[in-house]
Symmetry: C2
Subunit: 198 residues, 2 copies
DNA sequence: ACCTGAACACCGTTCAAGT
DNA sequence: ACCTGAACACCGTTCAAGT
């Protein structure tokens, strides 16, 4: 192979990352192997270890990109509605992203064996960005409750929405389909908000 | 090896299953291999394929057993309380089981590639048994709403509780710890019920 | 009929060797 | 310095051969 010096390390890193992403999207994590990535980008297996420490490290960066896209999607939710409707719209957007990007979305929540004790800082920050918009809305929803209560409520509801997505989409408790998931999300969000603000 | 005919097929099946279970509990699914099971029970790898079709099949039965134990745990929740309290107690029991049996609980919800289209009947039934008690309570909670509405509400809330468990326990969004998970579950359940019954 | 264990087609990771 | 590719220590699964 006469690939030597055709690309910078930075370029190779990007090639590896996007090739890996494509495989995950099309075939699922289970289909992702170093050898397949190497074949795809025209380098050999060894070269992948020049730009990523190992497969776990690579996975972490794939997840990071997915979080970025998810954050963007949540930011697209229009401003104009009242607060209740915005929370519901955010939940719908979350479900929509999960459904449309199922193969990359689901790996975000697989327990990470390598970094289980402490996730990298840059990754933690991306996670915060997902929770931020919903927390902000809860603060607006009941300013007199205080930021702590708002944070707790946002967290509880968002975990709940996530649960609906997981169980609706992975088909492990009898497949329900997305339409059904939407109405489940709606019921959870509306009831929770009504009950929370008393 | 002079193991020939020392055990019935049924016995070997049971030996494989419980050896596999022990490995999953102690070391996690990632550590489960045919070779390790074989070593543990004193047979060779080939013999595992006499009693299970493959690893996925074996996994399915490990999951089935976990669902059985979870169902038992939920049945232990005392009767005497009022309905709100019983729903909360069920949610707490669910969280408690998940926390105490994390390694076997988490694999229940991993997408199953082999059976993704249609889960085996015996497995579906076990899943129904998990949802049954909570649905029954929701029917009692608002008999005038009808069985469909109760089913939907039970499903929405239970998915939500599940979401709190997943995100609290797998540490993928900044580890929170179980005490915190308990108060999150409480907030979700109480707010939802209050909001649902108006 | 029951069970073995070598063989097959894979993995992720490393590192001496080539340019 | 960059990159190769063979080697290592693993996988799950199969199946001819032994008892």
């Amino acid at each position: 192979m006469a690939r030597r010096s055709e690309h910078s390390q930075e370029q190779i890193r990007e090639m590896v990352l996007s090739a890996a992403e494509a495989i995950v999207i099309d075939e699922g994590v289970e289909a992702l192997t170093v050898r397949k990535i190497a074949l795809e980008i025209g380098y050999t297996v060894g070269s992948i270890y020049m730009v990523f420490a190992n497969m776990q490290d690579l996975m972490m960066h794939i997840k990071g990109r997915t979080l970025d896209q998810l954050a963007l999607r949540l930011q697209e939710v229009p401003d104009a509605l009242d607060i209740d409707q915005r929370i519901l719209a955010l939940a719908d957007a979350y479900l929509g992203f999960a459904a449309e990007n199922y193969n990359r979305w689901r790996i975000i929540f697989e327990p990470d064996l390598q970094y289980s004790n402490e996730l990298p800082d840059w990754y933690q920050q991306k996670v915060e960005l997902i929770f931020a918009p919903i927390e902000a809305l809860f603060r607006q929803l009941a300013p007199e409750s205080g930021a702590d209560q708002a944070r707790l409520a946002a967290r509880a509801l968002w975990c709940g929405v996530h649960g609906v997505c997981v169980l609706s989409l992975n088909g492990n408790l009898g497949r329900t389909g997305v339409e059904n998931a939407e109405s489940t999300v709606r019921l959870l969000v509306e009831s929770f908000i009504r009950g929370w603000r008393r």
